[in-house]
């Protein structure tokens, strides 16, 4: 277009293409939940997502401090790091300095995340966590923000499991379940109260449409020959004040219908109806002889819609259903395990769920019973979680660099505060060993030799505990239960 390619002076063109002017303004910081309202916090902790642009420069320019800004950045602080990554908070502050800090935290985390080949999926409700059907956030029926007819067509497909309008991830109104009382009061007084007359008009239109439908159906019942198009529709202007008052009174007794109307008018994000709509105790809130459209919850109803696109721009992969190939062992059933850090063990000063740090993202242990779960402490079998994952229950100071565990990540999704939630799976010992061998932490051959040369333990089941112990070996295939000594003798 001609208007955008307007001729500018050389000086202006230079300025426009310069780094100084091409810096985008920072996005809003992560909603700090309540962290700002607490007494224990850190200003310098890594934020949940980056808000500023990361700037880099060629190494030759870095050596002279040239990052493309008004003044060179100090060499002492910018030349030590391996990668030149800087975030500039203010190009020119009032003290005549460039306010910058290292941006390697977010940038390297992004790089590590990309290495995981993770795909983002629509959140799965808790009751389906055991065997979830993962749907990519980029699917046509999910990745839309406005209720346009073309979008609805995709959403209304055979696998549609809810109100197609509620499957989108962006809403104009807030998510009520995630607001504090103060925020809710402010929202009502600032945004909602001023729209009362507009809402009355909205109700008039609804009532007019309802009346038209009622009249049409009654006429159709009486006389089949009259075409419905011949009858003029009831207009909103024809609705009298008395009619509207009567309708409003009826709505007050019908909470379900009222919430539907209000949430449609304000375009509220869906809230979970698991407790209200289908619970037997709430049946009193439904009008008798009336048809209700009860949908399953929107995927974002339980924890709120994300503040960004549900992929957060971190990954554009649609699925993880691809096979990795190993140079020796061939195609692998599972993806390579990821070495993760046990950031918080189970029993610290305060007991809590252990937290696993996967490539810079904190993740919970799987919600279902896995090898991460807390087993009985006096479990005599060799596979209690304490032995299986050292450092998971208690902090292990003897581990240089902290305790690590190899994990399998199933999927990722973005929550209402823009944080990335990784869903971990149970560990797969075979995959772990393959990965350990690949990175040189494990020698499979030496391990096999050691295992074969060990004497077979005597078979004895303690009288008190007669149970099936699958991981205990009382003999092995090569020695046919004869023990290691016999192998050496023959």
């Amino acid at each position: 277009m001609a208007s955008t390619q307007r001729a500018v002076s050389p000086g202006a063109a230079l300025l426009r293409s310069s780094r100084l002017f091409s810096m985008p303004s920072p996005i809003a910081p992560p909603p700090g939940y309540m962290s700002q309202a607490t007494k224990h916090k850190s200003e310098t902790a890594t934020a949940a997502f980056p808000t500023h642009l990361t700037v880099t420069t060629p190494s030759a320019s870095r050596m002279v401090g040239d990052w493309g800004f008004k003044r060179p950045l100090p060499l002492k602080t910018t030349t030590k790091s391996t990668f030149p990554l800087v975030r500039v908070k203010k190009v020119d502050s009032i003290e005549h300095v460039t306010d910058f800090q290292s941006a390697s935290d977010h940038t390297i985390t992004l790089e590590k995340f990309r290495e995981m080949n993770m795909s983002f999926s629509v959140p799965v409700p808790k009751e389906m966590m055991l065997n979830p059907t993962l749907i990519s956030v980029f699917e046509d029926g999910r990745d839309f923000t406005t209720p346009a007819p073309s979008n609805l067509k995709g959403a209304m497909g055979p696998r549609s499991d809810g109100d197609p309008l509620k499957l989108r991830w962006k809403f104009r109104g807030p998510w009520l379940a995630g607001m504090t009382d103060g925020e809710f009061d402010r929202y009502i007084s600032k945004s909602v109260r001023a729209r009362r007359s507009e809402f009355r008009q909205f109700l008039r239109e609804r009532l007019a449409a309802q009346k038209t439908a009622d009249r049409n159906s009654s006429i159709a019942e009486q006389d089949l020959n009259t075409p419905q198009t011949a009858i003029p529709a009831v207009k909103a202007e024809e609705i009298t004040e008395e009619d509207l008052l009567e309708y409003t009174r009826g709505l007050r007794g019908d909470r379900h219908e009222l919430f539907n109307l209000v949430s449609k008018f304000l375009d509220l994000a869906p809230v979970s109806n698991a407790d209200s709509a289908l619970a037997p105790g709430m049946l009193g809130h439904y009008m008798p002889d009336k048809k209700y459209d009860l949908y399953r919850d929107s995927p974002y109803a339980a924890d709120g819609p994300p503040i960004t696109h549900p992929s957060a721009g971190l990954s554009y992969l649609r699925t993880q259903n691809f096979m990795e190939n190993h140079p020796l062992y061939g195609p692998q059933q599972k993806h390579a395990s990821i070495k993760a850090r046990i950031v918080t063990p189970r029993f610290g000063v305060t007991n809590q769920n252990p937290k696993i740090g996967v490539n810079g993202f904190i993740a919970n242990i799987p919600a279902v019973e896995t090898s991460f779960s807390n087993r009985r402490r006096n479990d005599s079998s060799a596979v209690s979680s304490r032995d299986a994952i050292p450092g998971l229950n208690d902090f292990d100071p003897s581990q240089l660099g902290g305790s690590k565990v190899y994990v399998q990540v199933q999927t990722a999704n973005v929550d209402a505060t823009g944080k990335v939630q990784l869903r971990l799976l149970d560990r797969d010992p075979e995959t772990d060993i393959v990965q350990k061998e690949t990175v040189g932490e494990f020698d499979t051959f030496a391990h096999a030799v050691k295992e074969a040369s060990q004497p077979t333990p005597k078979f004895q089941v303690p009288s008190g505990e007669r149970k099936y112990m699958p991981n205990r070996k009382f003999g092995s295939a090569p020695n046919y239960g004869l023990g290691g000594s016999s192998l050496r003798d023959f």
Binding site: A45, A48, G402
Partner: protein, 232 residues
């Protein structure tokens, strides 16, 4: 329940003396070690014929009774050692575990940050500099009255709230500590004064009912630790 004694050993030695001996062993550190050495010795010896020991029940201590006693006590020790495994130093396994737990807890006290799912961390976040920041008490940055939509003047009877905005000496907390806006700070101050004036809240210290429960409310991280830690 006394240990089950096999048939042969029962005739070797009066059961009472061996039982008391092994009971005494339970509380001494050295005795099990001796018993385990004597066990191998007694296993090598052949048992005396049962009929002869039946005849010499009262004088059994003279003729080979020592070995038989040790034999019985070793059976009891065998039975017992399955539950209490020992390290070569003679220390019980449980003791070592508890000591390790104390050490872990001491380390965990140095890492006060409560991580939430989805938090990001870089190497810097695991450093001691950052840990010190999370341990320090800072002022609240957000106005809790606005955030929670409270009406302070209606809450003068709620001594938990009143106590939150008072120092232990009964003074009203200042704005630096409460993090309130001037408007809400005035309301909160009025709430405290009203509560004290009505005699609902003491003017010199915290409310006694809160003091009564303060043991449960003290965060574990700031609780005193005994000389040997919490676990041993």
């Amino acid at each position: 329940m006394p240990p089950r004694i096999p048939f042969l050993s029962a005739f070797k030695q009066p059961a009472t003396s061996s039982f008391f001996r092994s009971q005494a062993c339970q509380f001494s550190q050295q005795a099990p070690l001796q018993a385990s050495t004597s066990h191998s010795r007694s296993a090598a010896m052949s048992p005396p014929p049962p009929a002869s020991s039946m005849l010499n029940l009262d004088s059994s201590s003279k003729r080979g009774g020592q070995d038989a006693t040790e034999g019985v006590s070793s059976i009891f020790d065998d039975f017992r050692s399955k539950r209490r495994t020992q390290t070569p130093d003679g220390e019980r396994k449980v003791v070592g575990e508890l000591r390790g737990k104390n050490i872990s807890e001491d380390y965990m006290r140095q890492m006060p940050r409560r991580w939430r799912e989805g938090d990001l961390y870089a190497p810097h976040d695991l450093s001691e500099v950052e840990a010190a920041k999370w341990r320090k008490m800072t002022s609240v940055q957000r106005d809790l009255v606005d955030l929670l939509g409270l009406r302070p003047l209606d809450m003068y009877a709620n001594f938990s709230v009143v106590s939150e905005y008072m120092t232990p000496h009964g003074r009203i907390r200042k704005r630096m500590q409460t993090g309130l806006t001037p408007k809400n700070q005035r309301k909160i101050a009025k709430m405290v004064r009203r509560s004290v004036a009505l005699g609902i809240h003491p003017s010199v210290h915290r409310h006694p009912e809160l003091l009564m429960r303060s043991g449960h409310m003290t965060p574990q991280q700031t609780q005193a630790v005994g000389k040997f830690g919490n676990f041993i």
